[in-house]
């Protein structure tokens, strides 16, 4: 395991009271290519700007080689940024742009020349030194921006959507270039993008974000094959997502049938979601098929066809090189390995009573919440995400509830636990290690308690979440 170079701990950022980055934790190892992936407005650029020193965290810390750098000015951090709009100095030529940081350091002229020429060579722009930056193409400007940042010889290079202004072909080319450059200079890259394909092909590690929070951290293969929830699955590529139940290990039930799979059942729940990638589905004869359906549309994509097949309860997306026509009845089959099991989005739903406006009572304790009593009904449901519990020491007098950990598993840099409060089972997440038998005190912030009247509200909410746009 290589050395940790950057540690981000409990990092939060608010702009005018709006939380943009919410309690983020992650590590970056030396030499790693880490991508922050998410839609615009998910807080990924803000995290990058906090690492660069352009924004001050509202709370939390950033460590570089174990040293806190929160208060260091941008020019005091061994970190350089490749800006989205390149920010090349328009009054300087290519050479002087790249030499900027070296001139600031007052290196001797000859050394500056050597270094600039070396980095011009790294980005394949030898001989362009005397060119005006405005005379360069977008891709060339991009290369100059990278060379300029590298010339300062940073420990970490931050790249803020560096390819988003380039056209598709150039973007592909620059992706290859970036990977090559990173290998050549062996510097840690932290890369921000909303393009999942870019993230998958470039990264050693991907951090998937939504609304200021991390959803999943993992290698591209982990994220693609084992997405933690339907949101990640959907974002990271085309997928068929199916509600399913799992009563025992290695067997999952969906669409009224039982299928073999390679995953064990989750100890705390039977309800899961299944992801099957469209390229993992094959056409087969009707008698050998696991599912049958009717082709309803066909699109030629170049390498393969993309079909929509009606299988009764839902539409399936299938990618295949075999030609079929709309109306054809087809058998679909997939191997157990192609069935990826995810937890359905986990939430604690607790029967509660509204005591008065903004005070709700559940599990024997009163909590502040943001809900006014409507009409006569005081029976409500309190919805709390596992990550939103505030975990306190069991001796802490301010704790409102006490829970006993039943089960704990480490997943994506956090512990997912099942715990009991009296007879009631809850799910909670912890950054610190918890093991079965541990007793913890619990509290929860008023704005992390969502009050709903019945479970139907929850379904509506989920649908709204799913319809959120990923694009810019």
């Amino acid at each position: 395991m290589s050395n940790t170079i950057i540690e981000v701990r409990d990092l939060s950022k608010e702009f005018d009271g709006e939380v943009v980055v919410n309690y983020i934790n992650f590590n970056v190892a030396e030499g790693e290519f880490v991508t922050l992936l998410g839609p615009s407005g998910c807080g990924k650029t803000t995290i990058l700007r906090m690492i660069a020193g352009f924004e001050t965290p509202t709370s939390g810390d950033i460590y570089l080689y174990g040293k806190k750098i929160n208060d260091a000015a941008p020019n005091e951090r061994p970190v350089n940024t490749v800006f989205q709009n390149y920010a090349l100095f328009p009054h300087m030529n290519v050479f002087n742009n790249i030499a900027f940081s070296l001139a600031i350091k007052k290196l001797p002229k000859k050394q500056i020349e050597e270094k600039v020429n070396y980095y011009l060579d790294v980005v394949n722009l030898s001989g362009y030194g005397s060119r005006d930056v405005s005379s360069l193409s977008g891709g060339q400007q991009q290369r100059v921006a990278i060379a300029r940042a590298l010339a300062n010889e940073p420990k970490v290079l931050l790249l803020d959507e560096p390819l988003s202004a380039l056209d598709l072909k150039l973007r592909k080319e620059m992706q290859q270039e970036l990977k090559r450059i990173q290998k050549e200079v062996q510097i840690t890259f932290i890369y921000v993008t909303h393009d999942q394909e870019e993230a998958l092909s470039l990264s050693d590690k991907i951090i998937v974000m939504r609304k200021g929070e991390i959803l999943q951290i993992g290698s591209p293969i982990d994220i693609y094959d084992e997405p933690i929830n339907s949101y990640v699955a959907d974002f990271i590529g085309e997928s068929n997502i199916i509600d399913a139940v799992m009563h025992k290990n290695y067997e999952v039930e969906f669409l009224g049938k039982k299928f073999k799979c390679v995953d064990k059942k989750f100890p705390e729940t039977t309800s899961v979601k299944v992801v099957i990638r469209p390229e993992d589905i094959e056409f087969s004869s009707l008698e050998n098929a696991q599912l049958t359906g009717t082709i309803i549309s066909s699109t030629f994509k170049g390498v393969h066809y993309e079909y929509k097949a009606d299988i009764g309860e839902m539409e399936f997306l299938v990618q295949s090189t075999v030609e079929k026509s709309p109306g054809d009845i087809v058998g679909l089959s997939f191997v157990p390995n192609a069935i990826h099991i995810m937890r359905a989005e986990q939430r604690n739903i607790i029967s509660s009573k509204m005591k008065q406006d903004n005070v709700v009572s559940f599990l024997g304790a009163d909590f502040e919440c943001e809900h006014e009593i409507a009409g006569q009904s005081q029976d409500v449901l309190a919805v709390i995400k596992p990550a939103d519990w505030i975990i306190l020491d069991k001796a802490d007098k301010s704790a409102k509830l006490e829970a006993v950990i039943q089960y704990s598993s480490y997943h994506s840099e956090r512990y997912e636990c099942v715990a009991k409060i009296g007879d009631f089972t809850i799910l909670l997440e912890s950054i610190t290690a918890l093991k079965p038998g541990d007793r913890v005190g619990l509290d929860v912030d008023s704005d992390d308690i969502m009050i709903i009247l019945d479970e139907e509200d929850l379904i509506e909410m989920d649908q709204e979440m799913d319809e959120e746009e990923w694009e810019d």
Partner: protein, 275 residues
């Protein structure tokens, strides 16, 4: 360009012919005519290059340079300060900086006479604390004060307009690459704001070098500047030919100095420059 657009530009075209080109042509003709006969001559131009008139030109250039330098020294920091303010305050300061412009130029200058005079506001205040009266009006200092008051907004505004357009990402990039705030200013902001500085200098230097009302009113007309000289030739001496020649020389001088000035544009973009 479509015919319609051309037609829309016609009124200004006529305006320019009637009030810029035609008068200039007339002036050129007058300048090359002798005041005695009808002969064509360059004597009017040659007459100007005598020590007496050279001193007049020098005095004018001298006060224009001093005025421009002081307005730059005051105007650049002011423009920079305004450009970094939050939006609302920025608007307030911008309006304040051009507020004097809302009043007529002559009125403004006359009111300075009242403020600076022997029985003016300043001397009254000074005598209240037992000093003075001090002569302020009818000195060179009063001329500088009047010129600054009138021309400073012409320095602040173009510099501000350029500063506000410089992308903050350039400064972020500079700091990211190790520059302190101070060196980021000198290496990035300053060179990129040169078009504004050059426009500002032109806008102050040009009227300052040819001014005649301000010295007339605030200095009592006891030093001859080139503006006063031209006025004098036309209105007192009635020598329109010599007056025209001096005007032509002044114009050539201003044009030349602007061309030299534009050599100092370090921003890399020549599009915004006057020429």
């Amino acid at each position: 360009m479509s015919k319609k657009v051309k037609a829309l530009a016609l009124p200004y075209g006529l305006w320019m012919i009637a009030f810029t080109l035609a008068p200039m042509a007339l002036m050129a003709i007058y300048a090359m005519r002798s005041s005695q006969g009808q002969a064509w001559t360059f004597k009017n131009f040659a007459n100007f290059f005598s020590p007496l008139y050279m001193k007049v030109l020098w005095e004018s250039v001298y006060i224009a340079i001093i005025t421009t330098a002081i307005s730059l020294a005051i105007g650049y920091p002011a423009a920079y300060f305004i450009s970094v303010l939050p939006r609302k305050q920025r608007d307030i300061f911008l309006v304040l900086s051009i507020l004097p412009m809302w009043m007529n130029f002559l009125l403004r200058t006359y009111s300075w006479m009242n403020i600076l005079g022997r029985n003016g506001l300043i001397n009254k205040m000074l005598s209240a604390i037992g000093i003075g009266p001090v002569s302020i009006l009818y000195t060179r200092g009063a001329v500088y004060l009047g010129m600054l008051y009138n021309f400073l907004p012409f320095m602040i505004y173009p510099i501000y307009a350029v500063l506000i357009k410089i992308s903050p990402s350039y400064l972020e990039a500079a700091k990211d690459l190790g520059a302190s705030s101070w060196s980021a200013f000198w290496k990035i902001t300053m060179p990129l704001s040169m078009p504004g500085v050059i426009t500002g200098i032109s806008m102050v230097f040009m009227p300052a070098v040819s001014t005649f009302v301000i010295p007339e009113l605030l200095e009592g007309g006891h030093t001859m500047y080139i503006g006063n000289l031209i006025q004098h030739q036309f209105l007192q001496k009635g020598d329109w030919n010599f007056g025209s020649a001096i005007s032509m020389i002044l114009m050539a001088f201003v044009l030349l100095s602007m061309m030299v000035l534009n050599k100092f544009d370090t921003s890399g973009s020549k599009e915004d420059a006057l020429w």
